[in-house]
């Protein structure tokens, strides 16, 4: 297979690069982004990505509402975010240029498909005059490329109609960018083979040609003076692959099932941005994964409860509105003390809100969304790859304490991706699950007789002698019989609360990055990890007195959290909500935590966090 090695032009070495492809939903920008991501990951870079697509299935072609983008940040150092600003922007049409230009750094590389700038296209984008001619782009390094024409030329003779030919444009754009960043074409050529060679050789051939054409265009034309190169990053040794958060979640639950030797059952109802977990898991039936696409979210979780009663590793996945619908049933899971996972891929709310945008506004719903005193452990993933670890940790807690556990991720990390260090399955410790064996002494079984952690036995239907009934009415401790006595109710309310509190004894102590004592402690949770970690690192490097504490465990909090919070003059809690963790910290620890809150459907930029930190440090 053809391998093109770097050509004659000078190569500039960079520590990191941030590139964004943008165009119409139909232009295949997500694919372009994914290819550059995987290629960079294979090249040993650390990468972080941010796909951003419209809520509409497909808005009218050429409109701003229809613009789809994919941003990749790849570097030779370790990075945690897809980058605040774009250094190279590829715009396939006027609408894409209009909606994305503001993110391009001054002096940044701007590659535009000139052919798309006809009157209609410009009108849809709201351009009176062609921005490439009216000087409005002068502050950027503009490269006007007739991508449509060039692609058509390149694929001539592949026997494609014009429509199909134009579909190859994204490969041309990829080729050009790959040349610009000195990336190998091999992974993409392999992808083309795997994807199209059989189905339609003509298309495969055309895509290949377009890709090459783009690459050669960069190399041969005068337009581009130099190439850039980002060397491999010093990641911990191991083999890596690129993974999105939803993929990592799916792999994580499959791995947890294996480690606990359980059959895996997923009860789910499709909803953006959680559906991909269902899609991924449904592809792995040979792992004994049963996926049940239910009639609604309530059926999804109650089926999950049924599966848990039967002894499966049972999980349900959804997002905001669907989670709201599951709350009553979560109460049943708490009452029956069955282990299961409720995975909430948070999206923009309230109500239907902004389905394809990210947010962190379901933390309090996770804590308090149910009727009555109904405690559930809550954990949150901090990055795409972290989803893999967090769901396994959640399952460990669920079975050890016999309780449903809420796992929070969000649209940003669910769709975003990063390199994931492939673990060695044989080295993973088992997740211990105990089921009481048959009993023949004829005694009545006690389903609510508890162990030292206050967990009840997970007795499975089919086991002789352990017949018992559970349900949502208050029950007598030990016997599990329905019971309305005042003291028993108080005892059970306390017991359920203490059981969840006990989880704190089974999780690691909270760690802090940065100094033991400082002017400011940044406390974050979930998907804002990347921005906060990067921001704190930058401020530390510039000598600021700040530390970072990122919470994976939100209920219960780690045992030492209160002590940690006490060590710092100020506490800053950046959240993509109006201050939900902040309320919990204030209420539990009575500290005057300060909030940095943003609810725009977008993640924090590093700069936003840095500025707030500097502001607070300045105030002192």
């Amino acid at each position: 297979m053809a391998t093109i090695t770097s050509g004659p032009k000078p190569v500039v070495e960079l520590e990191s690069a941030t590139v964004r492809f943008c165009g119409d939903s139909g232009d295949g920008m997500q694919l372009a982004g994914t290819q550059l991501t995987n290629t960079s990951a294979l090249a040993g870079n650390d990468v972080a990505t941010f796909p951003d697509f419209p809520a509409e299935i497909r808005a009218p072609r050429g409109t701003k509402a229809g613009v789809s983008g994919f941003q990749i940040h790849f570097a030779s150092k370790d990075i945690y975010t897809p980058g605040d600003q774009v250094e190279a922007l590829v715009a396939m049409n006027p609408a894409a240029l209009a909606t994305n230009l503001s993110d391009l750094v001054p002096g940044g590389i701007l590659i535009v498909n000139r052919d798309a700038f006809d009157d209609k296209g410009m009108k849809q984008a709201g351009y009176q005059t062609n921005p490439m001619d009216d000087g409005s782009l002068s502050e950027y390094r503009l490269f006007q490329v007739d991508m449509t024409k060039l692609t058509r030329l390149a694929v001539e003779g592949c026997g494609l109609g014009q429509k199909e030919s134009d579909r190859c444009r994204n490969f041309f754009a990829m080729g050009l960018v790959f040349w610009l960043y000195d990336r190998s074409l091999d992974p993409t050529l392999r992808y083309i083979d795997a994807k199209f060679a059989k189905k339609s050789p003509a298309v495969a051939d055309a895509n290949r040609k377009a890709l090459m054409a783009g690459y050669n265009y960069g190399e041969t034309t005068e337009a581009f003076a130099a190439q850039y190169r980002v060397n491999r990053a010093e990641l911990p040794p191991g083999t890596y692959r690129n993974l999105t958060g939803n993929e990592a979640t799916a792999y994580g639950v499959m791995t947890a099932a294996k480690r606990s030797n359980c059959e895996l059952f997923l009860g789910s109802y499709p909803i953006t941005p959680a559906s991909d977990i269902l899609h991924e898991l449904s592809r792995h039936k040979n792992f004994g994964v049963r996926t049940f696409q239910a009639e609604d979210e309530i059926a999804a979780i109650t089926a999950t409860i049924g599966a848990a009663f039967g002894g499966a590793m049972a999980i349900t996945t959804s997002s905001g509105p669907g989670i709201a619908l599951k709350q009553e049933a979560m109460g049943l899971a708490v009452m029956t003390e069955l282990p299961l996972l409720v995975i909430n891929v948070q999206r923009g709310g309230p109500s239907t809100g902004l389905p394809t945008k990210t947010e962190q506004a379901d933390l309090l719903q996770a804590m308090y969304g149910r009727n009555g005193e109904c405690p559930m452990p809550v954990v949150a993933a901090r990055s795409p790859a972290d989803c893999f670890d967090v769901v396994q940790e959640a399952w460990r807690i669920a079975v050890r304490f016999m309780t449903p556990v809420m796992v929070l991720t969000d649209g940003y990390i669910a769709n975003g991706s990063e390199p994931w260090r492939i673990p060695d399955v044989s080295k993973m410790p088992p997740i211990e699950v105990k089921h009481p064996g048959p009993s023949h002494n004829g005694d009545v079984f006690h389903p609510y007789e508890r162990d030292e952690r206050l967990a009840r036995p997970w007795a499975l239907p089919g086991t002789p002698g352990l017949m018992h009934r559970i349900g949502g009415l208050e029950k007598q401790d030990v016997t599990g019989n329905v019971n309305y006595e005042p003291d028993n109710h108080q005892h059970m309310i306390n017991t359920r609360a203490r059981k969840v509190a006990n989880v704190a004894n089974d999780i690691p102590l909270q760690e802090v990055t940065g100094p033991e004592h400082a002017g400011l402690l940044v406390v974050s949770w979930g998907g804002t990890y990347g921005a906060c970690a990067t921001a704190v690192r930058e401020v530390l490097e510039s000598g600021g007195s700040v530390a970072h504490c990122h919470l994976r465990y939100l209920n219960p909090f780690p045992r030492n959290l209160g002590e940690i919070l006490g060590r710092y003059d100020n506490v800053l809690v950046p959240e993509l909500n109006r201050g939900q963790l902040r309320l919990l910290l204030r209420g539990e620890f009575l500290i005057d935590a300060i909030g940095l809150n943003k609810v725009k459907g977008k993640p924090f930029t590093v700069v936003e966090v840095v500025d707030k930190i500097q502001e607070l440090l300045a105030d002192n």
Partner: protein, 331 residues
């Protein structure tokens, strides 16, 4: 464990839990419970392999009284709970106990989807045409005009016919019986248990506190022969104390005819449980008192692919084609 699977001969009492039964004295639920306890030992399924799942309602207290595994879940969701359980544990014999409110009001959608998927479980709907546990509001099966706590001027909602709904979803087994008709009820429960795939059974149940006598027409010694009709496979539809009346088909519509005077049994509509098309079952499910005698017994009993079998078959197929999953390869 051989000893357990070798089925010691069990009696009705072996299926009674240690909880005392808390229905109102005279409630129809008692006799359904009694028949269930009587039928189960005859099925050869050990107690530990039997699971009762219910929602919320007087009827849904049922599982507490059975010495089997059970879950008194939340209102209307029992069919969904059962779907998760049976999909993972096809080895279990799963029964869903529900009421006309639990199953047709809040739970109507789960019932519908569970039936259309043809999950291999038995659903028994206790129809007392009222909300019992919440003390007497009308239910989706209450007749129009019914005066209840929530409808002092009478209901205005056209009732749902449980069997019409089940047949509309292509239920593979559909039957009806009556709490006080214990021999018939026992027979129907046994047939339901024997059927593979979804078995949907409506049981007329008297709530003597909030809707007493709702089914007198069907239970009254004098009337019942004229107001109900026992379906028998392959037999003509005959009823009446002296079995002197029958149902004849007139175009698409059933009509009551007197036997004799020129009309013989052969002129009558013959019952066919196994008719591949549910149209006959649908027509029978539409026959209502007082225009018609209400059919009891098995309306439909056909074989269809079962959800729990299919979901596990796909697992098996995937394993045989792709081989048992290997995480290290997957990563």
């Amino acid at each position: 464990m051989a000893t357990d699977t070798a089925l010691p001969v069990l009696t009705a009492n072996d299926f009674a839990s240690d909880q005392d039964v808390r229905w109102c004295p005279g409630c129809g639920d008692y006799s359904i419970l009694a028949q269930m306890k009587k039928v189960l030992p005859s099925l050869g399924v050990p107690r530990e392999k039997t699971v009762f799942i219910s929602g919320i309602g007087c009827s849904s207290r049922f599982p507490y009284y059975m010495n089997t595994y059970g879950m008194h879940s939340i209102h209307g969701r029992a069919p969904a709970v059962a779907t998760g359980l049976k999909s993972c544990r096809p080895d279990l014999s799963v029964w869903v106990i529900t009421g006309d409110g639990d199953g047709l009001s809040i739970g109507g959608n789960h019932l519908m989807h569970c039936i259309r998927r043809n999950l291999d479980i038995n659903i028994i709907l206790f129809n007392n045409r009222i909300y019992g546990l919440t003390k007497g509001q009308y239910s989706p099966t209450s007749p129009v005009g019914k005066v209840t706590k929530s409808t002092p001027m009478g209901t205005i909602d056209n009732p749902l016919a449980p069997l019409c709904i089940a047949i509309g979803c292509e239920a593979s087994f559909v039957a009806r019986s009556i709490d006080t008709n214990i021999k018939h009820l026992g027979m129907v429960l046994k047939r339901a248990a024997e059927h593979r795939g979804i078995s949907f059974v409506e049981v007329y149940q008297n709530c003597n506190v909030f809707n007493d006598g709702a089914f007198d027409y069907a239970t009254d010694r004098e009337q019942k022969f004229d107001t109900t009709l026992e379906l028998e496979h392959g037999k003509p539809l005959i009823f009446g104390k002296n079995r002197d009346k029958g149902i004849r088909l007139n175009g698409m519509n059933p009509e009551v005819v007197a036997l004799g005077k020129g009309i013989s049994e052969d002129d009558l509509l013959f019952h066919d449980e196994r008719a591949p098309e549910p149209t006959l079952a649908y027509l029978l499910s539409r026959m209502r008192h007082p225009e018609f005698p209400e059919p009891i017994g098995v309306f439909r009993d056909v074989d269809r692919p079962k959800y729990d079998e299919l979901i596990n078959a796909q697992i098996a197929e995937a394993r045989s084609t792709k081989g048992e999953g290997d995480l290290q390869k997957l990563y």
